[in-house]
């Protein structure tokens, strides 16, 4: 068994009404419950607010960002434990973000 990180990205400009939001949250809950029952969740992780700070470079400059309109903004993460990368990717197919045109990046944890 190895650990893999799911990085969730929603399509930019994705918006939902409160009722839609509720339904979406229900789907996430159901998916997580399923993964939990299969013993695949190492750490369920957290959703992330858009809009934070980006600290970069040797100058250590601090800028506002990333912004919701930016492509490829990560809006949450989960740590799973599976047999291999193929199984992790297979599990990621159940993620509700895909129905909204988003994506799940599946990255193996690097053992240093």
């Amino acid at each position: 068994m190895s650990e893999y990180l799911f990085l969730y990205r929603a399509p930019s400009g994705d918006s939902a009404s409160p009722e839609q939001m509720q339904q979406i949250m229900q789907k996430w809950l159901a998916w997580f419950k399923d993964l939990g029952e299969k013993g695949r969740i190492k750490n369920m992780g957290q959703p992330l607010e858009t809009g934070g700070k980006v600290v970069s470079g040797t100058a250590k400059s601090v800028h506002d960002g990333p912004f919701a309109e930016t492509k490829d903004v990560v809006n949450g993460y989960t740590l799973v434990e599976t047999k291999d990368l193929a199984e992790a990717a297979e599990l990621a197919k159940g993620c509700p973000i895909l129905d909204r045109g988003g994506s799940v990046e599946v990255r193996p944890i690097r053992k240093m």
Binding site: Q22, W28, L29, F32, K33, G45, P47, T78
Partner: protein, 205 residues
């Protein structure tokens, strides 16, 4: 409200449950004084209790263990609010009341203790109100209720009404407790018999 909160926070956190309920009612008193009673007071109270429960879960999730079986769902913002909402949904509430009634009929508690517990926790009776229902003194009833709550809090989890054998085994006790609950209301031997009929019709939480 108590029953659902106990399901969310865990029976071992019964004292915390009661704090949250108190909070909700205090908030109601403050808010309703200025803004008037809302159209749907019980929905307002439940929503307040739900929000307070979320606050408690968020601030104390490292310090405390909450409802068994829900653990990991309460640790992450992905699932915290929807999981709590599921438990506050109408059908779940009816199940919670039933579960709570069965839990109060704990085998280690005497019949009178079980009824006193149900009156206090589920029907929201003050110690004095329970005492007059039992034609007993305040101190004796208070001790009885405190001891009963300790026994309840020590049980590892709420009674599981879905297991047929356990359900059947405890049903006679629950029926008897309900009978006593209602018979005290109609034929209470207390001096204030005029007040007693109120008990039978008083809405349970």
């Amino acid at each position: 409200m108590v029953a659902t909160l106990t399901r969310v926070l865990g029976v071992h956190n019964l004292a915390l449950v009661e704090d949250v309920v108190q909070d909700a009612f205090c908030r109601a008193l403050e808010m309703w004084k200025f803004r008037g009673v809302p159209d749907n007071p019980s929905a307002w109270l439940m929503a307040t209790a739900r929000n307070r429960a979320l606050d408690v879960l968020r601030s104390q999730r490292t310090a405390r263990k909450f409802a068994p079986g829900l653990g990991y769902l309460l640790e992450s913002e992905w699932t915290l609010a929807p999981a709590v909402d599921e438990l506050f949904a109408a059908d779940a509430i009816k199940d919670d009341l039933l579960r709570m009634m069965f839990s109060c009929c704990h085998p280690q508690l005497a019949e009178e203790a079980r009824v006193a517990l149900m009156l206090n926790i589920l029907c929201g009776f003050s110690v004095d109100e329970v005492a007059s229902a039992f034609v007993s003194g305040h101190a004796a009833i208070e001790k009885r209720i405190i001891r009963a709550k300790k026994v309840l809090a020590r049980s590892k989890h709420l009674f599981n009404v879905a297991v047929p054998a356990d359900f059947a085994a405890r049903l006679p006790a629950v029926l008897r407790a309900l009978y006593l609950l209602f018979s005290e209301g109609y034929h209470g031997a207390s001096r204030e018999t005029a007040v007693a009929p109120n008990y039978a019709t008083k809405p349970c939480a």
